[in-house]
């Protein structure tokens, strides 16, 4: 009975783990000290959400898998994250835009999840909705400053928009598991986030003097485990400790 919810929770948890890992790659490399604190902050918010989601998914599955096993001991094809979150960081424009795209989706999603039929989901949503509101602000302010900044920053920002926009559509797609979880009101309908996503991002783009491109062929496949080449490199980093020292703990 709970198998669809287990899978739908994994989709959500994988989104947060993978983007959290991507953002954490900036730790120690950010262009200024203040940002070097802010980015791991955001990464920890997302990894924190992933931990709660994995733990709950593991309980539902009932096969004794905990957060570590779900996060670290699956193969790349078993990860169900959308492709957007695994995209490489590239420059600050890509990084902040990716964060804005994801947060603009997650904010209305968690708001809707506050009314979930599932008590644990409501709990996770209550914590996450505040965090993600800040992520929108933080990433949004950077997108505005880079988009409406120097000639180079504006050009890099628009390049990031062109590169990442094909990955937006997948956020709204419903897998059969996500649909089943939405049918029981356990998790929100992803499709329903479209209007608010567009409002949030358009508002930032207006200030940033960026244009929203038309995407004819969106990139899809993450939910079914069809990931990009970069995902393998990401996982080899992410899983290294657990693979090299099985069952290690801190």
């Amino acid at each position: 009975m709970s198998a669809p919810l287990f899978n739908a929770l994994l989709e959500l948890a994988d989104d947060h783990l993978i983007l959290g890992h991507r953002v954490s790659e900036w730790c120690g490399h950010a262009p200024l000290l203040e940002e070097d604190l802010a980015m791991p902050n955001m990464a920890l918010d997302m990894i924190g959400a992933a931990r709660s989601l994995y733990t709950y998914a593991g309980e539902l599955e009932g096969e004794g898998r905990d957060e570590d096993q779900l996060a670290y001991l699956r193969y790349d094809r078993d990860y169900k994250n959308c492709l957007l979150v695994e995209r490489p960081n590239e420059d600050f424009a890509h990084t902040m835009l990716k964060q804005l795209y994801f947060a603009a989706f997650m904010h209305p999603y968690w708001e809707a999840a506050l009314h979930s039929s599932d008590e644990t989901v409501r709990g996770i949503a209550g914590k996450s909705v505040k965090e993600v509101a800040y992520h929108i602000r933080h990433a949004g302010e950077w997108v505005v400053r880079l988009g409406d900044g120097t000639e180079e920053s504006a050009q890099r920002m628009q390049a990031a928009v062109e590169a990442l926009h094909p990955y937006v559509e997948e956020q709204f797609h419903m897998s059969s598991d996500a649909q089943a979880a939405a049918d029981t009101d356990a998790l929100p309908d992803r499709e329903a986030m479209r209007t608010q996503w567009t409002n949030t991002v358009s508002n930032v783009f207006d200030q940033a003097k960026l244009t929203m491109p038309e995407v004819e062929y969106p990139q899809l496949g993450g939910r079914t485990g069809h990931h990009g080449e970069e995902m393998g490199h990401l996982l080899s980093d992410l899983q290294y400790m657990q693979r090299a020292y099985p069952n290690m703990s801190w």
Partner: protein
């Protein structure tokens, strides 16, 4: 970088009813980013309920070389210290 990115002084109000206290400084391009950076740098552990950021260049500070003339008043002027009053209990902390 520090030539282009201004320095900001951060003041945090730990609780309602208390005043903002200086807690450090940071670099940020403008006041909005300064506020965000202050939030990330100084309030992650529930340290405060309100933040002020002030451009460091807006602060005009006393000269350490004048410390003696500024801050070392004569000890013989006891009448400057309000120790001769009985303060009613109800006043609380002054």
């Amino acid at each position: 970088m520090s030539n282009e990115t201004p320095l900001w002084e951060v003041f945090i109000r730990p609780r309602n009813g208390l005043s903002h206290k200086h807690c450090g400084s940071l670099h940020a391009a403008d006041e909005v980013l300064a506020l965000q950076a202050a939030r990330d740098t100084y309030t992650r552990r529930g340290e405060g309920v309100s933040i002020w950021v002030v451009p460091s260049k807006a602060i005009f500070a006393s000269d350490p070389d004048q410390a003696a003339e500024n801050f070392e008043p004569g000890v013989d002027k006891v009448y400057r210290h309000p120790t001769f009053y009985d303060i009613p209990e109800e006043v609380g902390h002054m």
